[in-house]
């Protein structure tokens, strides 16, 4: 059984990627356990009287030589806001590693990764870790406007990047599922998605229609993050499962969508 930890990590970087997304890099003084795409950490939001529980964030990147872990935090409400105000040198209490990873693609798989909103982080992490030929990886990122997109140029080495915006200011106009890559879904062996529920549901529908393997990473409200509170459930064909321990990654065939 994989040991889980509660640790104070030191913030070594906190940079704004755009007006609402921040990259926070955390460093451990000891060696950091292996964390894979899809897994997440539960972060304590200190020094505020409004927040009681931790907040879960997907891991965006790991560096085992530096013993660092990176998160992309999108400001949604009070906790994420407060978190983005943390300063270099301050400590952050983190529970990790939590949850299950995506099913890795086979070496010759062609994969499609679709990220929206705060779901971008695990998609980029998976693209990097998948170990596939660049041309076999398609990344599609959706946002409201070009300003809501973050700069992901360096991920071009891992795959082909496409964008959508609702106002057409970057990439194709409309929701991600309206993007042309969805015209030929069958060319992919595996589809992965993380983002708003509505987005993932429409992707799941398309994947299902095309009969393509599809995993999504859900973002439920969590109290504990490690399986004791049973608050984070998702109804599945196997009954109500905890997103924090049986997910956050689910095969769409198991979901009751």
């Amino acid at each position: 059984m994989s040991k889980k930890e509660v640790k104070n990590l030191v913030v070594v970087e906190n940079v704004a990627l755009n007006s609402t997304n921040f990259l926070i890099k955390l460093k451990s003084s000891e060696s950091i356990p292996k964390i894979e795409p899809g897994q997440f950490v539960n972060v304590e939001i200190k020094d505020t009287n409004e927040i009681f529980l931790r907040r879960p964030f997907s891991v965006f990147d790991m560096d085992y030589t530096e013993n660092t872990m990176s998160l992309i935090v999108k400001i949604l409400g009070r906790g994420s806001k407060k978190l983005t105000e943390i300063k270099k040198g301050e400590e952050l209490s983190v529970v990790f590693p939590l949850g299950k990873t995506f099913t890795y693609p086979d070496i010759n798989d062609k994969i499609l990764l679709v990220g929206g909103g705060s779901g971008v982080a695990p998609m980029l992490f998976l693209a990097k870790e998948a170990g596939l030929k660049k041309d076999n990886v398609t990344m599609l990122l959706g946002a409201r406007t070009s300003e809501d997109h973050i700069n992901v140029q360096k991920y071009e080495q891992y795959g082909n990047l496409y964008f959508t915006t609702e106002d057409g200011s970057l990439g194709e106009k409309g929701f991600v599922t309206a993007h042309s890559v969805f015209k030929n879904l069958k060319t992919y062996n595996k589809i992965y998605a993380c983002g708003p529920d509505a987005m993932m549901k429409s992707i799941a529908k398309e994947a299902d229609k095309a009969g393509v393997f599809c995993e999504v990473s859900l973002e439920n409200l969590m109290a504990c993050g490690f399986g004791v509170c049973l608050c984070c459930i998702e109804p599945t064909v196997k009954g109500n499962l905890c997103v924090c321990t049986e997910g956050p990654v689910f095969n769409i065939n198991d979901l009751k969508w």
């Binding site: 889980k4 509660v6 009681f52 529980l53 409200l221 504990c224 004791v228």
Partner: protein, 303 residues
């Protein structure tokens, strides 16, 4: 050397810190973090006779210094527990206590009979105070006659120490405590969660699928502490206290008010190591105050 051990109903606990039902799973989840043999005991996740899916999502809402939950006793039923979970956890070196839940007195009896057979379950906590189920649950715990009836019937079939878990959603908790004491409860634990509600003002909808849910966490500590003190002064059987305990100071306050042991619940969600830190903190306190034993704390509030 201070002595952390406490004795409740002939059970010796290595220290007075237990984890509360529904907040520490079936002990296995805590094993991911540390060896649970450090703990005085573990109240297992509430179990029912048959499989229960629990309530619909969302089941949780954060509130000021607390949270509401509406889990609704999701579990796979006692037979699944006996066949699949019990064998995996039964050799943990701590007291495992079952938290039993019924919709009818008959269900409570049948369930207790099954749990009573399990050798390595040290005691039974009779939950007559769950606010998140439509039938049974809290309805048993908020009136003396029904609390008496279920305690009496379960007592008949229960050969293990019987702890009755009380609901705080009552006018006078001492009445209920005395009622269950009168029917043979070996001890009482309190409090379960307070019935509360949260609303999303922008969407104009309740934040829980069940509209209301149970409030836990530091917000309820002053109320829980008052009830433990009242019950301690009203009954002769041991009192196990809980409600918003986040650190050793909180735990000590409950013991000063009369608790022979404490349960730590919601705090675990913030940090699963809190129960362990509390054990260390109580030890420190005893040393600083020149007390020999954790039992010296019980009810030692000076008025």
């Amino acid at each position: 050397m201070v002595d952390l051990a406490v004795k409740i109903n002939n059970l010796e606990f290595k220290n007075p810190v237990l984890t509360a039902s529904g907040t520490s799973g079936n002990a296995e989840e805590l094993m991911d973090f540390y060896d649970v043999s450090k703990l005085g005991g573990i109240l297992l996740k509430g179990v029912t006779l048959r499989n229960r899916d629990g309530n619909a999502y969302p089941r949780m809402a954060e509130t000021a210094s607390g949270m509401l939950n509406a889990v609704g006793l999701q579990n796979k039923g006692i037979d699944y527990f006996i066949a699949n979970i019990y064998p995996r956890i039964k050799d943990y070196k701590t007291h495992l206590i079952a938290n039993v839940n019924g919709s009818t007195v008959e269900e409570y009896i049948e369930l207790t009979e099954k749990v009573d057979e399990l050798e390595n379950i040290s005691a039974i906590e009779l939950n007559i105070s769950c606010p998140n189920v439509k039938e049974g649950g809290m309805s048993f715990g908020i009136s003396c006659p029904s609390a008496e009836a279920v305690t009496r019937e379960v007592r008949r079939v229960c050969n293990k120490p019987l702890i009755v878990k009380l609901s705080p959603n009552v006018t006078d908790i001492t009445e209920i405590a005395k009622a269950v004491e009168g029917q043979g409860a070996d001890s009482v634990s309190l409090v379960n969660t307070f019935l509360g509600m949260a609303i999303d003002a922008e969407k104009k909808i309740p934040l829980l699928s069940t509209i209301t849910g149970g409030l836990s966490g530091p917000a309820i500590k002053p109320l829980a502490l008052r009830m433990v003190w009242q019950v301690y002064n009203a009954v002769k059987i041991p009192v196990i206290g809980m409600g918003g305990i986040m650190n050793a100071t909180d735990a000590i306050e409950f013991m000063l008010a009369g608790a022979s042991a404490v349960q730590v619940g919601t705090a675990i969600f913030k940090d699963p190591f809190i129960p362990v830190k509390i054990i260390d903190g109580i030890k420190d306190y005893l040393e600083r105050h020149n007390l020999e034993s954790a039992t010296d704390l019980v009810g030692s509030l000076q008025l």
